[in-house]
Amino acid sequence: MHAGKILCIDDEEVGLPVRKLMLESEGFEVAVATNSKAALDLCGKFSFDLILLDYSMPGMNGGEVAQATRLLHPQIPIVLLSAYLTLPEEHTQILDGHVTKGESTEALLALIRKLIQREADDPDSKERRTA
């Protein structure tokens, strides 16, 4: 049973595959992208239940990727996973969640599940986000 399809975007060489392993072990189907361009391409080809985004990346930063995907796929919840403690407000306000890296794996999983569940329970939220 698939708990959901997650697109994981990060440029961390070790961090990204480990995160993929961890999420897969929890039953999620995980696609990874190491840069924003590849991420946007994947978003166009497949549908995801959630996007897990790193903030600091070469090219576009996480906030910018979030803005771009929000425009194309407004229904997908976006969680920012960042090593930064504070981020620009114009980026955080369009997010569905923000988790600081290294905080706690359990907390991250709980947030992901909550958001995917909400999406399934309340399809209206899609319109809410597009509005």
Partner: protein, 591 residues
């Protein structure tokens, strides 16, 4: 001034010339008088000659009569000897007398009369003599007495008349000259009196005009003195009110003036400091070494120009406390360029220096803050991975455990590496140590790697020398980090930054090491270029403290280096290059 001089000259001329004229007049009068007296004397001498001749004439005639009488009475011819002698002398005497009084016709006439009478008497006397010789020796029968006596009396009367006239003539010039003398005396007295009067009047006039002139001059002088005093007071007030301390010395370096700020800073009052050598009141030392600093008076006199004090100068006050000062000295020159004193202006910069210290500390803290953000970021990444790994390990309890643990170790090593870098960046060395710029550049690049990657910046680093410089490593990291961070901020996304460390000539062709940070950012405008090293100047808004370059320059100049900036804002070749050159450490000092 010239008009009053003319007036003075005119008065002095009058004062001298008028009395001189009067004196000359008096001299001329005296000369006339002397001449007159001399001529009167001549005249008297002349009449004396005439009178003497007349008396001789009379005596000769009396001699003849006496001789005649003796002969008549005695018929002794010997009695006639004086008679004949006089006969011989008389014509000569008559002639002499006539020629002597030739200028006086009246007397000539009288002499002619006398001569005539004498001729009569002579004829009579000849007759008597011849008759007496015939009647010899009848003595006394010849009637000689009466007729002869009458003739002789007449002769004497005439003779007397002549003499009286001549004596009258003798008295005349004496009377005349004495009356003239009186006149001259009176005139002289009058002149002297007039002279004195004139002198009095003139002196009075002169005194009056001199007095007036003097009053004018005095008035002007007083006015000028008042103006001088006023300007002096104004200057004094200015100097007293000035916010900086001012000390003035004479040409020997002795204090002549101290304003209240200087009094407060040195703790010497004007009264006590007055006349003291400058170095007694203004004791200055090098703040860092405590070595006595050069007396600014001596320095000014030596260089003859305005001089600033060396940096880090402290004033030792009378109670021994020290204050940091910033000062300058300047020679005071007279109009002809002679230096007759030195003026020293200084101010207490203790607070300012304290403030700068705080500012530097602030910038250090800000830098530490910026750095800690990037370090936190770097650490959170591996920590997150380790967290995920631990989660997986606990969950799996088997399977590919080794692989997971290996990944975990890798990430932990990363954390340790980051912490090490961070520690080395903040480890403060207590003294300057031989430092390789290349190593500093590498360490800082690691720290800033994330920002460089985020902006997709191409950073090319070329370390072309292993030469060392003497520096505090932490400060060098701050310099490199400031310059590199600025370059990162300056370039657009995808920009280029080149960092080079190479051997380069230092000032005076000494060997040096250069650090070049070159970016292709937007460049620095000309007006900004002059401000970039000033504190609080920033183009980064709230993201910058405006202290980075200021501190960088402080660090660089502290160890004897210098910074050159070239920047271009034109579209085709915009970019900025910071070139920092340090003196190279000589190989023998290395080890």
């Amino acid at each position: 001034m010239t008009t009053s001089q003319q007036v003075f000259r005119r008065q002095i001329r009058r004062l001298i010339l008028v009395p001189l004229g009067i004196l000359l007049l008096i001299a001329a009068l005296l000369e006339v008088q002397v001449r007159r007296l001399a001529s009167a004397q001549n005249w008297v001498d002349h009449t004396d000659v005439v009178l003497a001749q007349a008396r001789l004439l009379l005596r000769l005639m009396i001699d003849q009569e006496t001789g005649l009488r003796g002969f008549v009475l005695t018929h002794d011819e010997r009695f006639l000897q004086p008679y004949y002698a006089a006969d011989l002398a008389l014509p000569k005497v008559f002639n002499q007398l006539r020629s002597t009084v030739a200028d006086n016709p009246e007397q000539l006439e009288r002499i002619a009369g006398v001569h005539q009478n004498y001729d009569q008497w002579h004829a009579y006397s000849q007759d008597v003599i011849s008759r007496a010789k015939k009647n010899n020796p009848t003595v006394g029968s010849v009637p000689v007495g009466l007729a002869g006596k009458q003739m002789m009396d007449e002769l004497r009367t005439r003779q007397q008349d002549f003499v009286e006239h001549e004596e009258e003539l003798k008295r005349l010039p004496v009377r005349r000259s004495s009356s003239a003398g009186r006149a001259v005396t009176w005139t002289l007295l009058g002149l002297v009196f007039a002279f004195i009067l004139l002198l009095l009047i003139q002196t009075r006039q002169n005194i009056r005009s001199v007095d007036a002139e003097y009053a004018t001059i005095l008035n002007n002088l007083q006015k000028r003195t008042a103006e001088l005093r006023e300007s002096r007071e104004r200057l004094q007030v200015t100097l007293r009110s000035i916010g900086d301390a001012v000390i003035v010395t004479d040409a020997e370096g002795r204090i002549t003036f101290l304003n209240p700020v200087a009094e407060r800073l040195t703790q010497f009052s004007q009264e006590r400091a007055n006349g003291k050598p400058l170095e007694e009141v203004f004791r200055i030392i090098d703040e860092e070494t405590w070595a006595p600093a050069e007396n600014p008076f001596v320095k000014v006199m030596r260089l003859g120009t305005i001089v600033g004090l060396a940096n880090h100068t402290a004033l030792v006050r009378e109670d021994g406390t020290q204050i940091s000062i910033d000062d300058s000295g300047a020679p005071i020159r007279s109009e002809d360029g002679q230096v007759f004193g030195v003026v020293l202006v200084f101010r207490d910069v203790t607070e300012q220096k304290e403030m700068l210290k705080v500012l530097r500390m602030n910038e250090k803290l800000a830098a530490a803050g910026r750095l800690s953000v990037s370090i936190a970021h770097e650490i959170h990444n591996p920590l997150e991975t380790i967290g995920n790994l631990l989660y997986l390990i606990r969950k799996q309890g088997g399977g590919n455990l080794d692989e997971l643990i290996g990944m975990g170790e890798q990430e932990l090593t990363r954390v340790v590496q980051i912490t090490k870098n961070m520690l080395s960046l903040y480890r403060e060395s207590q003294r300057e140590v031989p430092t390789k710029l290349g190593e500093v550049v590498d360490a800082v690049s690691v720290i800033l790697q994330r920002s460089i990657r985020d902006k997709q910046i191409t950073l090319s680093t070329s370390i072309l020398t292993e030469a060392r410089i003497s520096a505090f490593p932490a400060e060098m990291r701050q310099v490199v980090s400031n310059l590199l961070s600025n370059a990162i901020d300056a370039v657009e996304k995808g920009g280029h930054i080149e960092v080079e460390v190479e051997d380069a000539p230092f000032k005076d062709s000494q060997p040096g090491v250069a650090l070049l940070v070159r970016d292709n950012g937007c460049g620095i405008s000309k007006p900004n270029l002059s401000k970039i090293f000033k504190p609080f100047f920033t183009t980064k808004g709230e993201n910058g403290t405006g202290l980075g370059l200021w501190i960088t320059q402080g660090i660089v100049s502290k160890i004897g280096g210098y910074i050159e900036v070239t920047s271009e804002t034109a579209t085709e070749n915009h970019g900025t290059t910071f070139k920092v050159v340090f003196p190279k450490l000589r190989p023998d000092i290395h080890s």
